[in-house]
Every structure is written in structure tokens, then in C-alpha cells.
Symmetry: C2
Subunit: 431 residues, 2 copies
Amino acid sequence: MSAVGVALLGAGNVGGGVIAALGAGGSRYTATVGRPLELRHVLVRDSARARPGIGAAAVTTDIATVLGDPAVAVVVEVMGGEEPARDYIARALAARRHVVTANKEVMAKHGASLLALAEQHGVSLRYEAAVGGGIPIISPLSRDLLANELTAITAIINGTTNYMLTGMARDGVDYAQALAEAQRLGYAEPDPSADVEGIDAAYKLAILCGLAFHVAVAPEDVARSGITRLGARDFRYARELGYAIKLLASGRVVDGGLVASVQPTFVALDEPLARVDGVLNAVQIEGDLVDRVLFEGSGAGPGPTASAVLADVLDIARDIVVGRPPGAAVTPRPVAVHAPGAARARYYLRLTVVDRPRVLARISGVLGDHEISIASVIQAETDEHARTAELVITTHQAPGSAIAAALEVIRVLDVVVEVGNVLPMVGGARA
Amino acid sequence: MSAVGVALLGAGNVGGGVIAALGAGGSRYTATVGRPLELRHVLVRDSARARPGIGAAAVTTDIATVLGDPAVAVVVEVMGGEEPARDYIARALAARRHVVTANKEVMAKHGASLLALAEQHGVSLRYEAAVGGGIPIISPLSRDLLANELTAITAIINGTTNYMLTGMARDGVDYAQALAEAQRLGYAEPDPSADVEGIDAAYKLAILCGLAFHVAVAPEDVARSGITRLGARDFRYARELGYAIKLLASGRVVDGGLVASVQPTFVALDEPLARVDGVLNAVQIEGDLVDRVLFEGSGAGPGPTASAVLADVLDIARDIVVGRPPGAAVTPRPVAVHAPGAARARYYLRLTVVDRPRVLARISGVLGDHEISIASVIQAETDEHARTAELVITTHQAPGSAIAAALEVIRVLDVVVEVGNVLPMVGGARA
């Protein structure tokens, strides 16, 4: 009974999780597949470091060694980063190896061409682990929800920022303190920009939108704003208004075009996503038949990521054993990508204004000029010394472009000291 | 471009949903599959009734007509009930037709033998719609979570009872009122026993446990108690203690054996399942790699069910078009099925007792004799006229068998008027 040969590219945190899971699950996996999985090579940057659990697998720093071994059927890429990961995946596919990757950046930027390359060479390219860690989401979108005309994806897909936002809501701390705490615990990187600026979430959203709406979405198509401007006061107002603040990744079909964004968003407390706390991820999908489905779980970490990686490996290995060819890809249908201003939402505006009469009248006048109507106003925290006041306005539904245009005017009013934050709102009262 | 022929067995609520979805999604489905789907036959009990949307499909009452048409590649069974559905499925498989079914009863009782029959004839038998309506759950268990050693399934998989329990919690009404309301709205059948006695949920749980734990689980292996004994007072005590009451379907591996039950359960309010309200369903799965994942959505209705049915049809049709054979089934591993008493839980006990001194001492003495320790006691609602009092006791972790044995003794104590309800508790304080 010959084994199914596997090579692992990358032996960091996730690679270690895959190695450990292969060790722990060995006999079960053999029973599932019908043949053993054999880890034949582990490609690393530094071959001198000791790596427990690798067993008989040869540690190498050379991709040519891996692809020169005819017994390798499946290449697992868990190195992360754009290059050389993309290059290695492309070379593995061209060498007719099935590839399983956890690489959101490569799939977001190069997914379409790599999937075409896989199809051309009659092999599979699978990437369940690229989004949502252990939560099955790529496979449900690719297959289980395929009968639906999907209309919206709304997701919390960055655990680092969700951990920070949960802490800010709970402890009343500002962004800087929440970041320091997350870094201390290892949830945030020393350079946190990929997480806090929404770059990581935008990669993942581009992948999800591509699958859900059958459209090529580049990461640049995702309008993106990070969490760095959020202050403790925004969370106080959110609670007062009945909302949580979440970094929401959102893709929606509006007037036949896709609007995709990653931005901090007021989420009404009765929405399921408002209660997704800490490092958890969740993806909510809306479709014509299914209404809403929600998938929730651990979005990162060696165990959950290994779960997704090995699900893909096992599926490929089972097909190899019975000689079943890769499934056909779904042909994309053309969907336009709209500018984010096309989407309508209610908005939360926090402004610092001069504390004198008729300020609100002037601001609401500008909003009215842009056909934006006000739902509620909170005037709070007058600073008697500076003679300023804080004004929190929530609006009824308005196009993002109208809000942006109104803010251009408001920003330069002589009564406005600063535009603090402007965030969309979802759920709760409809208008 | 020849079509993929489909036959539909059953044109009720779900069948109507499938017909409507096939009509609405036609051109998309053709693009997805690479060939059109053609609905060729609709098998009904009464061919005289008018059925909109069927188009050119021939309405028939004879399964032989359907299986005699060589152009039928996929048979969709949405009749419900055990017979003749099981017989028709078996005949379709034996005639080398792929089968998609939404039938939980048939799959729970006969799934293993029908799946073997499908494999023997080289065709697929798919049943995503049998559990959780539009929520992808069969496919994630069959494939996406396969790398895990799964340890527990905890689910709300009956929308009728969840709707009733949500109403009882919100409105403070008793079981009979909640049932009448659900029947008035069409959420509950005139004979509600399959829902309120947990029979429907037990079928679904048997299917989920079979997949998750690779074990043959018969519906009789599921310990089952319904919601008919729940009163408004149980919900009051639950809220006071920080819990919701849900009809939980639970399968767990305990000491290498499976314990499966469907029973009303106290669920701590900070558990995700406590917030699954109304007709929603949710399935929570725990595994060694993935920790916890939760799937939530509409568990019934023509749209969600059609979503699941057609996902299976599309997947099969795509394989047919490219000549891809059915995937290999995972070989079951032997797992014993334990009696439910083997599982440990905390318990809620509501007793009506004689209102006199030392009653609590006697009851706690009996619990102590069975090594059950008390976590909290609420003595409430003294009925001065009847000279009785209500006693609510929560326990620390104890085996279900110990609770049952202690109750045998408590039930016949002269100070005990009635044992009101005894329910397990999940989440919240651990002990």
C-alpha cells in the first residue's frame, strides 16, 4: 500500500500545527484515505534549526528538491507572504502537484491565475485555510451554497482587531492601550499594520467575494479603513445607542455591481455579529434561497489552520486513491465592482464643534443640502475651558458618496474643530 | 448540449420550493453545470391537482415511469415519511440513478444500508437537506472537518420547538399556549408529537452523530425527552439563574463511547446556542484541532431546503458533465453507544415539597447519598393554602445515572409532593 506523499513548505507556527496534527491523526487519516499520508519534505528557510515531530521527512531549503521527488503528490504551502510562496505554488502546479495553501495574500492577489494554472495541469489548488482559520467557509461558498444567488457577505475575519475592539468595549481603553495589550499577549505583531489597517481582512474579503459573487475582486477593489482612529468615547456612544463596534468586512451586490469594504462599523447589539467577541471570526452570508447563514469559530492558530489545511489534503488524497480527477471550476460571471460610495447606510458622525448657538443648525443644514436626514443627536462632553462640545449625530440611510461630500463641507465650517469619526451602522432601526 | 435529467419525487411545500428555485436559477445553473438541468418528471400522489411552474415535466403517480426514463440521471426525493420514500430511493439507486434526499427519517433509519447500496451501484446518495435546512452541515462534517477527532455536537435542530421555547421565555406562557400559537401560525402540525417529543430532532441527531463519530447510530440510541412538561415557572427560574431553556440535541464521546440525547436543557446565557431564537437552527461542533465551530441559519422552509437540495444536485450534475465518479465513502470506525446515564452534567431540579422544616435537609441527604452535591437552592412560591413550597436545586456535575437513582428515592419521600422538572445544564459556572 503505497503512501500519498506530502511536502510541507514552511515550518513556522502553522507548519508546526500541521506536523503535529499529522502525527496525532496518522492512523485515522490512513483509514480515511485508504493509504497512509507520508510527510516527505519540509522546506524551511533555516535548515539548522531543530524541528521536532518531522520524523523521517527531509528538511530542505530548496524547492527543486521537493518538486524533484516523484513521490510527492500534494504540496502544502504555509510559508505566508507573497513571494516566494506564489512562485513555489506556481511551480508545484506546473509540475502537476496538487497544492493546498493557507496563503490569503497570494490567493487574493493571484488566485485567478493560479486556479487557471491548476486546471490547465489537471491538479487541484485548495485554500480553505486562507480565510477564517478552522471555520469551513471556502468549501460552503464553492459548493454548499451554490444554488443561491448570493447577495451579501458580512464578516469578522481578523481576530487581532476583534480581540482589540472587544477589549476597548469592555475596558474603556483607547486604541493605543488595546494595541499594547494585544502585542504583549502575542495577538498583534510588532508591526501591526496588516491587521489594524484592515489589509489582512481585505485580502480575505477579496477571496470570499470572488467565490460568492463569481467576480474577480482585487484587494485594491476593497475600500478599506482601519481601527486606529477609534477612541474610548466611540465605544461609549456606541453602547449608549445600542451598538457594538466591529471591523466588518462587507461585500454586497448593489444595482448589479459589487461594493466591498473593510471598515469599523456600528453593529446593532441584536445582530449575531455584534456578539462575536475576542479572537473569534464569523462570516454571515445572505442568499435568495437560504436567507442568512452564519459560520463562527476560531479564525487563526495552528490547530484551526491545520484543521482546514488537512481537510483539503485528505480530500485530495481520497480522490488520488480512487483515481478521481479534480472537480470542475465554476465559470465566473461578470459582475462590475462599484465604488463604495454607491452603497447606502446609516452613519454615525462624531464631531468636535465650537460650543455656541446654531452650530447644530448649520451642520444639519449641510447634511440636508446633501439629502441626508438626521436620526438622532447626542450633544455631550462640553469642554468649558476650550469652549468646545462633542456632537454625535446618527443619520438615516444615505449613500456613502453623499456622506463624503457633506463631510467635505462640514470639515471646513468655522464652527467645526474636528471630524472625530464617521462610521456606517448596520442592523437596529431601519430607515 | 444534452441536459442533465432530473426527476422530483414529491411536490408539496419543499418540492414546490425546488421547482421555483429551478425556475428562478435556470440560466445560472446551466452556467454552473455546463449543461442545463431538465426537470423531466414530478411524482405526486394526486395527479389531478394543478401545479404551477412544472412546465414540460410530466406529472406521474408511478415511480416505474420515472425510473423507466433513461434520461433521468438524478432523482430528488422530497416526499418525506419512511415509506414509500425509502423504497423509491432504493429502487432509484439500484437503477443507477444518483439520489438527493431531504428525508431525515429515512436517512436516520436506513442511511447506512442505502449509502452502501449507492456505493455498490456507483452512484451518489446525498442528503444535505435532511438536517438544518439551508445550513451546510452534512458536507462540513463529511469533508471540511474530517481532519479532526470530533468530540461533541450540540445543536438546536428543530425550529418548531425553538420557536415555542422562545415564545415561552419571552411571553411567560405555558406549553399549551405556546403550542396553540405555533399551530395557529403554521409552525406546528395539528399532531405536533414529532416535534414536541423530540422525534424529529432525534432523527437529525442520529444522522449528525453517524457522520461526526463514524458510528452507526439508530434513532433509538438517542435518549429523548420532549418539551411538553415545561412550564412558565421553569423559564422564570432559568432567567433568574442566568440560563435559557433550549431543546438541545447532543452527541458526545464519553470514555470512548457515544452518548446521544435530545432533551430540554438549561443553556447559560453566554453560550452562543442560548441566543439562537425563533425558528433558527444552529449546530455547534467541537474537535481536537478546530476547537468549536458554529453553523447557524434557517432550519426549514421551502427556500432553505431547496438551497440544500439543489447544492447536492448541482454538485452531482457537475461531476456527471466531466465524468467524475462519486467520491469514496469514509469507512466507519467502531464506537460504542453508551447509555445516557454515563454522561455527567450539572442539573436543575424543580420540586414541589411540603412546607415544613428539615425538608431541604432530607432531600440534600438523598442527593449526598448518591454523591451529588448542591450548587444552589431557591425556595420560592410557597402556597399557604396547600402548605406546599417550590424548591429549585441546581447541582454540581454528576452522572445522569446518579441523578436518576436519587430521584427514584426523592420521588417517594413523604415530604415531596411532585418532581416538577429535572433538566441538565450546560455552560456557565463549571464545577
